[in-house]
Symmetry: C2
Subunit: 397 residues, 2 copies
Amino acid sequence: MPANLSQSRYNQRGVSSDKGDVHKVVDKLDGGLFPGAFCKVTEDLLTNDKELCNVIHSDGAGTKSILGYLWYRETGDANVFRGIAQDSIVMNLDDLACVGIWDQVVLSSTVNRNARNFPGEALAALIEGTEAFLQTLAENGINVKSGGGETADVGDLTGTVAVDSCAVAVCPRDKIVDNARIRPGLSVVGLSSCGQSTYETFENSGIGSNGLTSARHELLSSHYREHYPETFDPQTDLQYVYCGPHRMTDRLPESNLTVGEALLSPTRTYLPVVKRIVEELDQNLLGLVHCSGGGQTKCLRFGTRVHHVKDNLFPIPALFKEIQGVSGTSDEEMHQVYNMGHRLEVFCLPEAASRVIELSREFGIDAQVVGRTEESQKDDGGNHLTIERDDLTLQYG
Amino acid sequence: MPANLSQSRYNQRGVSSDKGDVHKVVDKLDGGLFPGAFCKVTEDLLTNDKELCNVIHSDGAGTKSILGYLWYRETGDANVFRGIAQDSIVMNLDDLACVGIWDQVVLSSTVNRNARNFPGEALAALIEGTEAFLQTLAENGINVKSGGGETADVGDLTGTVAVDSCAVAVCPRDKIVDNARIRPGLSVVGLSSCGQSTYETFENSGIGSNGLTSARHELLSSHYREHYPETFDPQTDLQYVYCGPHRMTDRLPESNLTVGEALLSPTRTYLPVVKRIVEELDQNLLGLVHCSGGGQTKCLRFGTRVHHVKDNLFPIPALFKEIQGVSGTSDEEMHQVYNMGHRLEVFCLPEAASRVIELSREFGIDAQVVGRTEESQKDDGGNHLTIERDDLTLQYG
């Protein structure tokens, strides 16, 4: 069975796309005010106002920072970490966007570094990248401020650097987008993860900050294994370590980008678009899903008695095609790990779909109805997902 | 020069107590509303109220998590990570306490783990430890809630686990304790870092979550080097790796604790005491310093035209004595890295000192006037510090 074989290949690197043991622990915790929402939403402890609620969220660049590190070591260009700062921030902001929060957000960052390998100039680039990205957001009407951060010298914990952020907001309860409202009969509009939006300065490959452990090892060659032992887990069988064909400077097939540029493409934020969508759609908007960990299957966790059907997905971006091509990863797993073409899903009444598409395109981001929600076909009414793409049919849940 | 020799020994492990290159980068950033305060305090973006301000703070357990990992591997007891959760939280809360915030705090945690080495049961202990510690705080009138967290499987970034937290508060501007008010003529009351407070269930060794890289390698023996290569930076010269005499099960000299228990002693929070001190002292309170990174020299960064004089310090706790004894670390460096007896300093009018001591002792925490502030003796009026202990005189700044 190729699917299982491939899943095993993924697990060989000590990561899992479903984080089964994490969910087993975390799912026991109190779900907050809106257990079906994309982020945990809690009572307003910060100002003690019954009309308000608090959202605090943590996430980071994950192992994408290692790609930044490799680039930095190979080229001496510390500016690559400006993009890593953006990755860490957007992984938080675009999650917050999925509960309808895009403004008045305060964030903080944590850098756990090996000070020998990640020196002051690299740290400076992270901080400059943070400020520059927040400036870009401000120019698009999105008010996010950094309230500080922490840099820890922990060379015994990491050979390179881990970059994480935390974002917090206080918001009226009646403004929360609650994905529990996702129900049968809706249109699903996908917002493309690639191309170049009006607020980006380079073409985006479509990669976010998920699946980078796998992408890095599958695409990059043994050159990196030989020269940068600090960038992989020595417990991983060497056959799974940097076992791909490419140097970062290689041209990515069917793309204007090099492999390194494509892998390091900073995670796109959808905030400027989400702001417009939430403001305009109001009750016609039923839910928002950031296709982060879990990729195209992320939607499975959201909605009530829903069969998610996606039968009109975007063409697969060049980077994901190349990952699949060189690794032989199954279609099933590719859609579980990567966004495969759109990283944001808008669940809306069918009559509102065309407006969502228009709004997205105003920002230079392609959008289309990628699917719909139907009644769950499971006896227990649980959510499930069907993906149809060309001759392919994938079932999840 | 033993001091330099010793400093070099510390740097050999890829860490620095002064984080010079970090400050060089960070000190350029906007200092916020109260640039002299212990934490960065910003305008209230969260609720947009001119009377309020926001504080967001990030810190973590640092390499203390590695001690938890070693304990877990040797004993199979995952509950050790309950203490690590407390470490990560207190490193934030006790910093916030130093700007006068002890209540209505929301926090979030990030766990960057090697899923092979740090499995679900260890993660469960971290989460249970968080909930249990917040419950203890609640029983002492301190209202802190966890709003969620993130667990990332990043085996290429770490062989073990990094545990970080972020804490946020919204607070009236006129309630902020601003350490810029620290001026000549004040008493400095130190609150002991060891013993057992009324709200602790075990004796505390006095260690916080600073200096643990050094303490671990100086105290623990080559047993750990041989068995746990995932717990140290392979770039460190082996002569500096686990080069001490002890197993974690050894009795710590002059103590009821084992070496492992002493090193893993969860970071004490001073919040219940700070709450009482801030409430009672009001204008008699001029500043609060958490002796975290920088140890007894942390105060140098705070106050205006101040010569900090500490000439009545607590006796050195057994754990710090043993670290110094086995490593030959200089007195100068010991006081730069470790708290050496008290982890919280209260700067107050001399007539208020006895009340601070009483309040602290009500919680079973010993306290005494450890020093005073005098006029700066430097030409530029900059802060400096003199520590006198027995025949020893140390000068900093």
